[in-house]
């Protein structure tokens, strides 16, 4: 068959590869191949099409073509004619870009197929190479890896540990591991001061619990359930396998990308990990249920915790911020199946995972945990919290006539009618409502405002003040915590944090709050006075006295500190000194918003001591 290109002639430059010179040739496409005829030499040579190689994958629109022979790379032929590529491609279609690329793609597609087969095979046969490698790692190496992981997590966080909490954790761990398997399982559990609600099993039989988890849990049984679940991971060597897998996948990614990283690979990596996690979670759950049963601990707590995470069981703990929940859900998805599995367990005789004392020790290991229910708040006779440095919170007695507040409330309400999400108006109304002692309503406005503007520390602080006014101390603490998280150095939030702890009679925590204020804000003298009050309530009268003295050294006009001194002396049995202190209090003009309290206390106690007030 004849093709249109038959017989076409072109001018080319030929190099024989012996020197860097070319000589002109005339090129003709024939059925046998390219026929090259030298201008000066009569001899012709023919390059058959199947021996041809082009210097670049050939496009039909190429302006010129450089050819060489597969077996003799020194000889080249250059044809600078825009129509040459098109006619040559008809004869030698193997030189086209598409065909050349297809040749280059073959190895890649073969690798792709092999990897797909391998992954599919592992999946179908339920094999885990990483697990197999993990099983052969010596224990010492696993422990070292685990310690490195814990060290990296504990870098910015303290390990919460008191003698009592250590004992409680150890006993619970032993109870569960004794029921774990025939082999002895040595597990070590560490509690970290971390608000995140989570638990991690790390290599070498080590487990991390977070403060957030322990405080979020309603009962010790819930913690036992989570711990048993993590021990299940430990039994299955999931953490070790996870690290082996991560390293293997990282190496494979490096290999696949040849140093050129991309996002696509990371997504793939994450997906594999997620799928694996689901199966691992189910295995860990099965172990957990077995351990709980063997240890005689009710599995109900485990299920309760799942539901708590799902938000079905807000309990006394109200809600957590979404970000924290997301973290839990992502790594430990408590699916309906898992809850159903736990709930379907037949009941068996069970005892609480921890005694009340142990449970308290565990919850208080990090310092200031919320108690199950607020203790009865201190009576009105107790000295009120001192002034904040700036009048951010509402003053306890309303000095403003209600009409004023009423007008402000009406104004803000009007603004909110046009824009219900006006944070400034909400804030203004809340302030007015608080002035008017409508603390419930003020709280509602502040809550709404802080939902709209969750990063505003001042709103959380104001919420805390209203909650404190309503004596909802646990919630107040959390609001102050949030304010302090957003503005770590906030004096007022820290001060009120201390007030609430004192009101809850968590004196150690209150001491920590004021201690921190004294350390970071040495000029904030109220911290000394407030700490003095805490010491007095703890019966540490010498310490109390020293703090009141310090307060007065810094400010001779601090009325309430004289009264505080009187109270301390009175407790210590120094009647005369007490009387003198109370008299000085009354002789000093009222200063700060606890001044009235100072005068009232002095008058009352002088009367009780049978001394006439001046």
């Amino acid at each position: 068959m004849l093709t249109p290109s038959d017989g076409a002639r072109f001018v080319g430059a030929h190099s024989d590869g012996s020197s860097a010179t070319t000589s002109p040739v005339s090129v003709r496409l024939t059925g046998a191949g390219l026929e090259l005829r030298g201008n000066d030499k009569p001899s012709t040579r023919t390059w058959s099409y199947d021996r041809l190689q082009a210097s670049v994958p050939l496009r039909a629109d190429a302006a010129d073509v450089l050819l060489y022979l597969k077996e003799d790379g020194g000889q080249t032929l250059f044809v600078a004619d825009p129509s040459f590529a098109r006619v040559l491609l008809v004869r030698a279609p193997g030189l086209s870009s598409a065909r050349q690329r297809w040749q280059g793609l073959k190895p890649g597609l073969a690798v792709l197929g092999a990897v797909a087969l391998l992954v599919g095979g592992l999946w179908a046969l339920d094999l885990s190479p990483s697990q197999a490698v993990a099983r052969h790692m010596p224990l010492a190496a696993r422990v070292k890896i685990g310690q490195a992981v814990i060290a990296s997590m504990a870098k910015d966080r303290k390990v919460c540990e008191t003698a009592a909490s250590r004992a409680a954790l150890d006993r619970l761990t032993r109870r569960l591991t004794a029921a774990a398997s025939d082999k002895p399982l040595n597990a070590r559990v560490v509690l970290l001061d971390w608000p995140l609600v989570n638990a991690f099993a790390v290599p070498g039989g080590q487990i991390i619990l977070t403060r957030g988890l322990v405080q979020h849990a309603g009962t010790a049984d819930e913690v036992a359930g989570v711990l048993a679940h993590e021990l299940g991971h430990t039994l299955e060597l999931h953490p070790e396998a996870g690290i082996v897998r991560a390293m293997g996948l990282a190496a494979a990614t490096q290999l696949a990308l040849a140093g050129a990283q991309g996002t696509a690979s990371n997504v793939g990596l994450l997906l594999t990990q997620l799928r694996y996690t689901r199966i691992a979670e189910q295995e860990a759950d099965a172990h957990a249920l077995r351990m709980l049963k063997g240890a005689g601990i009710s599995a109900k707590g485990f299920g309760d915790f799942f539901e708590r995470l799902e938000g079905k069981r807000a309990a006394g703990e109200t809600t957590r911020s979404a970000s924290e929940l997301e973290v839990i859900l992502r790594t430990h998805p408590p699916t309906a199946d898992r809850i159903a599995l736990v709930r379907s367990q037949p009941t068996y005789p069970a005892t609480p995972a921890l005694s009340d004392g142990e449970w308290r020790a565990l919850r208080e290991a990090c310092g200031a945990p919320p108690a199950p229910k607020p203790a009865v708040p201190p009576g009105a006779a107790a000295p009120g919290p001192t002034a904040s440095r700036t009048p951010a919170g509402p003053p306890p007695p309303s000095a403003t006539p209600p009409t004023d507040a009423g007008r402000e409330i009406a104004e803000a309400t009007k603004a909110l009618a046009t824009n219900p999400n006006d944070v400034a108006a909400l804030q203004q109304r809340a302030r007015a409502l608080a002035k008017d002692r409508q603390h419930e309503q003020a709280l509602a406005d502040y809550s709404r405002a802080s939902e709209l503007k969750p990063e505003d520390a001042a709103l959380h602080y104001s919420r805390g003040i209203e909650l404190e006014n309503l004596r909802r101390y646990e919630e107040a603490l959390r609001a102050y915590d949030e304010a302090l998280r957003l503005a770590p150095g906030d004096i007022n939030a820290r001060n009120h944090h201390g007030h609430v702890n004192r009101a809850l009679r968590r004196y150690e925590a209150a001491l920590q709050d004021y201690g921190e204020l004294i350390r970071t804000e040495p000029n904030f003298i109220h911290a000394y006075f407030n700490r003095g009050l805490v010491y007095r309530e703890m019966g540490r009268n010498e310490d109390a006295l020293r703090d009141f003295d310090t307060t007065l050294e810094r400010d001779k006009g601090y009325t309430a500190a004289y009264a505080g001194r009187g109270l301390a002396y009175e407790r210590m049995g120094s009647r005369d000194k007490a009387i003198e202190a109370f008299r000085t209090a009354l002789a000093t003009p009222q200063k700060y918003n606890n001044g009235p309290w100072g005068h009232a206390t002095a008058r009352e106690h002088l009367k009780a001591l049978g001394v006439a007030a001046p």
Binding site: G17, S55, D64, G104, L105, Q254, L255, G259, G489
Partner: protein
């Protein structure tokens, strides 16, 4: 009267000097670059080596000497084999050793880190040399091969010890080092059986380098003072009464100011640095000779800054998908500004007798020291 003096205009090369030019391939580089990226993902990265080969084929082919193209004859398979060897013999053992070292004590880890970096530098030197040898041996013009003789080890050693002297000499060794490395590479570079020569010395480079060095110091001091001033003005503001803030709270104005100072300082330095680099490149070309004929390169500071900045943006904004386009632009930058100062007797250049390397440039790719 001297006829010769009036006739020689250094800006115009003699008529019989080879003409070096750039001819864009049909379709350009953007489409190819993207296609390669897609195929690479599709094949779990394996196509990378074939894609890279095609890009080189097209870049080489765009470079013309007297209208005839350079040829790149490397293959994807060679590059893949080179990479696999480096991966299993170097990268994987290094990775495992790093992991093991991280479990040991801090002293062991420090010793390991030092050894690791020294080894990495040494391997980088070997990688640069081997990659150059591979590429030159796969480069042809009129069927004649390029080549690089000499041993990689010697070059790597020079590369390492001069690198270690950079901090010790506060950078003053840099021009001397650049000349030394350039010479080490070029006196062993061949086209066919003809060797290049390199006659450059470091002295002329220092005439510009001292300004780079001084300006770096001046810019750092000036920028630090200015940033310090901005921070101090913030600390005195009445809205921040706390004596010891745990973290710096910067206003929007302060942030803009600091970013602005850093950017302006960086840009000024880049211009001065480019002014030096342009001089260096041009000087290197002028002192590189083939058959006693030298080259003229007309690189300028603004064009060099533009090339580097625009290539950086192309790579970043395209997430690496257009990196081949950036590579082509770099090559074109040189080719467009390069001329040969005299005639070359092509007939006196015979085929390069060197044996060919069997594998591609795995090391250079692994340590990211290759340019093309």
């Amino acid at each position: 009267m001297s006829l010769g003096a009036a006739a020689v205009d250094p800006a115009v090369p003699p008529a019989d000097a080879p003409h070096i030019s750039w001819v864009d391939p049909p379709g350009g580089f953007a489409g190819l670059s993207i296609l390669n990226g897609v195929l690479r993902i599709l094949t779990l990265g394996v196509y990378h080596f074939w894609g890279k080969t095609e890009v080189r084929q097209r870049i080489w082919s765009a470079v013309r000497i007297d209208g005839e193209p350079l040829e790149y004859r490397g293959t994807g398979g060679e590059l893949l084999r080179g990479f696999l060897v480096v991966f299993f013999l170097v990268l994987l053992p290094l990775g495992l050793a790093s992991f093991a070292a991280s479990l040991l004590g801090p002293v062991t880890h420090a010793i390991y880190s030092f050894a690791f970096w020294a080894l990495l530098l040494l391997l980088s030197g070997i990688g640069i040399h081997r990659a150059r040898r591979y590429r030159l041996s796969r480069t042809r013009w009129r069927g004649i091969r390029g080549g690089l003789s000499g041993r990689s080890r010697g070059f790597a050693w020079t590369y390492l010890w001069t690198m270690l002297l950079v901090p010790l000499t506060l950078g003053w060794i840099l021009p001397w080092r650049a000349v030394r490395l350039q010479r080490a590479l070029f006196i062993v570079t061949h086209f066919g059986d003809n060797a290049f020569t390199f006659t450059g010395v470091a002295g002329p480079l220092y005439r510009r380098f001292w300004l780079v060095w001084v300006s770096a110091i001046v810019l750092i001091v000036t920028a630090s003072t200015a940033i310090g001033g901005i921070l101090a003005s913030g600390a005195r503001a009445p809205s921040a009464p706390r004596p010891a803030p745990a973290m710096l709270h910067l206003s929007a104005g302060q942030t803009t100011g600091i970013v602005g100072i850093v950017l302006v300082g960086f840009l000024i330095f880049a211009m001065i640095r480019a002014w030096y680099s342009a001089r260096m490149l041009n000087y290197f070309a002028a002192h590189t000779k083939l058959q006693g004929v030298s080259f003229t390169l007309r690189a300028t500071a603004p064009s060099l800054v533009w090339l580097v900045a625009s290539n950086y943006l192309i790579r970043v904004l395209s997430l690496g998908f257009l990196s081949a386009l950036a590579e082509a632009r770099s090559m074109r930058y040189i080719v467009d500004r390069l001329a040969c100062d005299g005639a070359i007797a092509w007939e006196r250049i015979a085929q390069n007798p060197d044996a060919l390397l069997k594998r591609g440039e795995g090391l250079a790719e692994a340590f990211n020291v290759d340019a093309f």
